[in-house]
């Protein structure tokens, strides 16, 4: 029985045990006030989070290399350990033993501060995420706003790294990162506002509870796609990795960093990737809850559902990286400002319409009247998608002309096309 409890609620059991032990030790034996226990528990929680984040990052690097390799018909890392699972460990050892270089013209304070600051927001955002039922470090009433606010500070660290390195490519990368982040923050936040309207709360815990019957990805499929695209862009991942484009600006803001400082940038990037999938899971995919089917509730422990969904989203992101080429800067900005922002605004408007319909009929999210409301929202989303395609007409976008000519005529055709 105890083992079963440990499997289904590991955080709760361990937390209870630790709290009991600390209370006995500190409060009853040493006579310290009660809040010392709370403080130590919070520090232990934070330490646990940092450890989990580091291990997650190492696992993600391995997963990404392995999956990408399979997509490109290669084997990927397969030397260190079983299926190359120890490759990240070897990589870490290599990074830790590398020489630490500071460029001669660099602003030393800013240059050295940037890698530390870049990890901070990536870790801080996990404080408001419910990992399983009741397992949340702090269920802030402004949870989502907190994520947006903390996330927006990460650009400063990137810009600091780009400027402090005293390298034109690094500066360009930093500037690109900021321009991209500021543009994509808008559709990202707007796409979630629809969910916030449905829930009536900014708390991530309550957003998960509101998806008891139906996940918000079914209510707001268009918003889910906008959120995913904008988030991938905010994490600087392919196809939106212009700030780190190796072929254009030799990897952007972290070009001058080596050794452990580079490792910190790397860490922040992969934690951001994981954070995105965690937010997509929490806000749109029902969080730690299993799909609503009779008898499925206790099939898997909460935290396993959570991890399964998160890694499914991570897989989609790796898939995007494996298949899509990098956007140009004008395409990137057009996508944000001319497609995603208007679409998110229309989505917000239609969510209001759907909500009014729900209010008129007295339908709710937490009983069986959720299904007619779901139908209303699906119709609205289909209309919105059709309208979007009608306005943007992908068939009418400019395309490259391909002309097949015989080899003997090739020179002649090239000269007529280029006019030279």
């Amino acid at each position: 029985m105890d083992i079963l409890k440990l499997i289904y609620d590991p955080f709760g059991s361990i937390g209870e045990g630790l709290r009991g032990l600390l209370t006995q030790l500190l409060v009853q034996s040493l006579g310290l006030p009660d809040w010392t226990v709370t403080l130590i528990m919070l520090i232990a929680g934070a330490g646990f989070l940092v450890a989990v984040a580091t291990v997650t990052m190492m696992f993600l690097t391995w997963l990404e290399r392995k999956v990408i390799a399979r997509m490109q018909d290669r084997l990927g890392p397969n030397r260190a350990g079983l299926y190359g699972i120890l490759q990240p460990v070897a990589d870490m050892v290599k990074l830790f033993t590398k020489e630490d270089i500071t460029p001669s013209g660099a602003d030393r304070v800013i240059y050295n501060l940037s890698p530390m600051l870049v990890v901070l927001p990536s870790l801080l955002v996990f404080a408001v995420v419910p990992f399983a039922n009741h397992v949340i470090i702090s269920d802030l009433s402004i949870g989502f706003l907190y994520i947006v606010a903390i996330g927006s500070t990460s650009t400063i660290a990137l810009l600091m790294g780009g400027w402090g390195s005293n390298n034109k490519y690094a500066l360009l990368g930093g500037m690109r990162a900021v321009a991209q982040f500021v543009s994509y923050e808008i559709p990202q936040v707007l796409s979630v506002v629809g969910v916030l309207l449905l829930t009536g709360s900014l708390s991530l815990g309550r957003i998960v509870y509101a998806q008891n019957y139906v996940w918000f990805a079914a209510f707001q499929p268009v918003a889910f796609i906008i959120f995913l695209l904008a988030s991938v862009s905010e994490a600087n991942r392919t196809p939106f990795d212009l700030p780190e484009a190796e072929s254009e600006i030799i990897a952007g803001y972290h070009v001058e960093y080596s050794g452990i400082k580079f490792a910190l940038y790397f860490l922040a990037e992969y934690i951001n990737t994981f954070a995105i999938s965690v937010f997509a899971t929490t806000i749109f995919l029902g969080g730690w809850q299993g799909p609503y089917l009779p008898g499925w509730g206790a099939l898997l422990p909460d935290w396993l559902w959570f991890l399964l969904k998160s890694y499914a989203v991570v897989f989609v992101m790796i898939w995007m990286r494996g298949t899509l080429p990098r956007l140009r800067i004008d395409q990137l900005m057009n996508l944000a400002w001319k497609a995603l922002v208007p679409l998110a605004l229309v989505n917000l408007l239609l969510t209001g319409v759907g909500l009014s319909v729900m209010q008129v009929f007295g339908w709710k999210l937490n009983d069986f009247t959720v299904f007619p409301s779901l139908a209303v929202f699906l119709v609205l989303n289909v209309l919105m998608g059709a309208g979007f395609l009608a306005v943007f007409k992908p068939a009418h976008l400019p395309k490259r002309k391909v002309v097949l000519v015989s080899r003997s005529r090739a020179f002649e055709v090239t000269t007529t096309f280029t006019g030279r």
């Binding site: 009433s141 947006v148 927006s152 400063i156």
Partner: protein
Amino acid sequence: MEFVLFILFAGMTLTGAILMVALHNLVRAVLAMILGFVGLAGLYLLLEAEFLAAIQVLIYVGAVAILVLFAVMLTQRVSDPNAPVNNNQAWLGFTVALGFFGMLSAVFAPLKWPSLPEQSVSTVENLGKQLIGPYAVPFEAASVVLLVALLGAIILARE
């Protein structure tokens, strides 16, 4: 506990503010300003104004400071150690600031602040209701002003 945190955040805010006016390097001055903004957000948190704290970080740290950094990076003599930090109005400015501080202290010190009942409703919900209720007109006016500023920026950028 609360007092320790107050000292910490107030120290952060003041250190940031003093460094901001004292540093020669403009980019470092902006970063010091960001430190001050973050300290201010911490003070809001201590006052249980979570929404205001989050907005402070989002708007000032995430947007305004970034904009200022961009502008500063385009200026000449960004990191020139010989660039003057003060002009000849420094003492005048200090006197005015001191006078303003004295005035605020004189106004606020005798005030007795009413304390809200313990179980306060969610600040965000309350704020939303106020914004579409009694404060709808000022809210809309502010959004019109912002819209005009946005259009103006676009027109200026086009020329």
